[in-house]
């Protein structure tokens, strides 16, 4: 059987232009899902649209040949973070259907700030990277797991360990915060 090893799902099938077009299309999906996430009045729907956006971002990582990151994205974000968020929504009695007050009174200010930020940043970014190209084709690129792993454990060991301590602290913190005090003692 003729075996073809593709180093990254997706990119191997596509020509450079194809990658570009796919990237833009998926990007539009991501943006759309993100927009719905921040505007929908149904709380759980927001979380589900967030899944779409995050999954789309994982695909974008694949297109950028960062395969390992992509799977981490799926594992952590889609598999855990969103589940936690849904968990939180359900524990705080998220209603089914539209909440009339999902947005606060700040929404017009928020819209202004967000639009201004978007405008400024797009302008700056477009101005800065007008003629910059990245090569997403080379085989066995930086996204390969082996490469990422060796760089992570060779050059980034110290930050990695520091991160472990941070995670431990977060774990302890979350436990302390969510533990119920025994009866008779003040909160």
């Amino acid at each position: 059987m003729n075996v073809v090893h593709h180093n990254a799902a997706g990119s191997g099938f596509l020509s450079p232009t194809g990658v570009e077009i796919t990237f833009v299309l998926v990007g539009l999906v991501v943006l759309g899902a993100a927009l719905v996430t921040v505007t929908t009045r149904q709380l759980v729907h927001a979380a589900l649209w967030l899944v779409v956006a995050l999954g789309g971002i994982a695909v974008e990582y694949l297109l950028l040949t960062a395969e390992f990151i992509a799977w981490v994205q799926v594992l952590i974000y889609v598999g855990s973070v969103v589940v936690l968020l849904l968990f939180g929504l359900m524990l705080t009695k998220a209603p089914i259907g539209r909440s009339p007050d999902a947005d606060s009174e700040n929404r017009w200010v928020a819209l202004g700030v967000a639009l201004a930020a978007a405008g400024t940043l797009v302008w700056v970014v477009a101005d800065a990277f007008r003629s910059t190209w990245i090569d997403v084709h080379p085989a066995n690129g930086p996204g390969a797991t082996a490469v990422t792993g060796s760089s992570l454990f060779r050059f980034w060991v110290l930050p990695f360990e520091a991160l472990s301590v941070l995670l431990l602290a977060a774990l302890v913190g979350a436990i302390v915060l969510s533990r119920r005090r025994p009866e008779g003692r003040d909160r």
């Binding site: 059987m1 003729n2 593709h6 259907g97």
Partner: protein, 320 residues
């Protein structure tokens, strides 16, 4: 063009496997449970040994009315079975069946890919439970989410141990590195992986989220007809995927006599044996309590899997 055709063919093959194997497992479960529990019902349909029972079930599901509760969130309610089922289909692509590229798509970080995508399946349960607008459903959804969170970690750790041993994340690569003594070396990890997998599938004895005697089938309470069938199908597909993964990771996949020619048969055989064990466990063990379940994950599985990782590391360093 040849590449595209090749890829297309593989996808079709995977789809076929996905449609066939879970049904086989379902039928086997019927029969095995009937025999073990001395139940006569499933032995009648179709005459010989009740061969048509599965077909009858399918017809029954198809006939039933597709009910959506009035207060439910319709779209989410309808979407949930698909979300529960699809990840297993995607995962099947990456599981190698035989040597020489007998696999849907050899993903570089295959192990990681598989675990990541399997984690998405729980979203289906959550969506179903919440969208049903039923307190039992919500409880079931919360339970399954908690269970998934708790068992994801030992499962990942056990898988990491194998990846360490093989020095690769690619599933065909792992099988390629296999030696027979690995089964003993990685025994603890294998048991942890298999147990945690059972828990993620919410199979007995880890089936509190769907415990019918406590919360009336949990997240699936409001489901009827084909949608309910899809949930059942996702459960059986999960069994297939879990058994296949365990086979690939811990039992050597296609390794066996005449592996070059009938390797795929070995894989299927081992998977089938494991599937039988899953069914067997369902019949033999009582259900754990919710707190026992959590305690089991945190105080038994995680330490054992960590010990396995330590052992793997030590052996790796010593032998290299």
């Amino acid at each position: 063009m040849n590449d595209t055709l090749d890829a297309l063919l593989r996808l079709v093959a995977v789809l076929v496997v996905f449609l066939v194997l879970p049904l086989l497992v379902g039928q086997t479960e019927h029969k095995v449970m009937a025999h073990m529990q001395g139940r006569l019902g499933p032995m009648y349909a179709g005459g010989f040994h009740g061969w048509a029972q599965l077909v009858a079930d399918g017809v029954k599901f198809a006939q039933k009315e597709d009910v959506v509760p009035a207060d439910a969130d319709r779209r989410v309610f309808q979407l949930a079975p698909a979300v529960a089922l699809l990840p297993y289909l995607v995962v099947l692509i990456a599981i190698p069946v035989g040597p020489h590229g007998f696999v849907g798509e050899a993903v570089d970080a295959g192990l990681f890919f598989v675990l990541a995508v399997m984690g998405v399946g729980v979203l289906g349960s959550l969506m179903a439970g919440w969208a049903s607008a039923n307190k039992f459903s919500l409880l079931g959804a919360l339970r399954s989410a908690a269970q998934l969170m708790a068992y994801e970690l030992p499962m990942l750790l056990a898988a990491a141990s194998v990846a360490m041993a093989a020095g690769t994340l690619s599933l065909p690569g792992i099988v390629g590195q296999y030696h027979w003594w690995w089964t003993l070396w990685q025994l603890m990890g294998g048991l942890v992986f298999f147990t945690a997998g059972l828990a993620e599938l919410q199979r007995p004895p880890f089936d509190m989220p769907v415990a019918d005697s406590e919360i009336i089938f949990g997240a699936y309470t409001e489901y009827t007809g084909m949608r309910f069938a899809l949930f059942l199908l996702s459960e059986y597909a999960g069994i297939v995927v879990l058994c296949g993964l365990t086979t690939v990771l811990f039992l050597g996949g296609w390794h066996g006599p005449w592996a070059g020619s009938v390797g795929w048969l070995w894989t299927l055989l081992k998977t089938a044996v494991l599937a039988f064990v899953v069914i067997w466990l369902r019949v033999s063990y009582p259900r754990l309590r919710e707190d026992q379940l959590m305690k089991f994950a945190w105080t038994v599985l995680i330490p054992v899997s960590l010990a396995q990782i330590a052992l793997t590391g030590v052996v790796k360093v010593v032998t290299s």
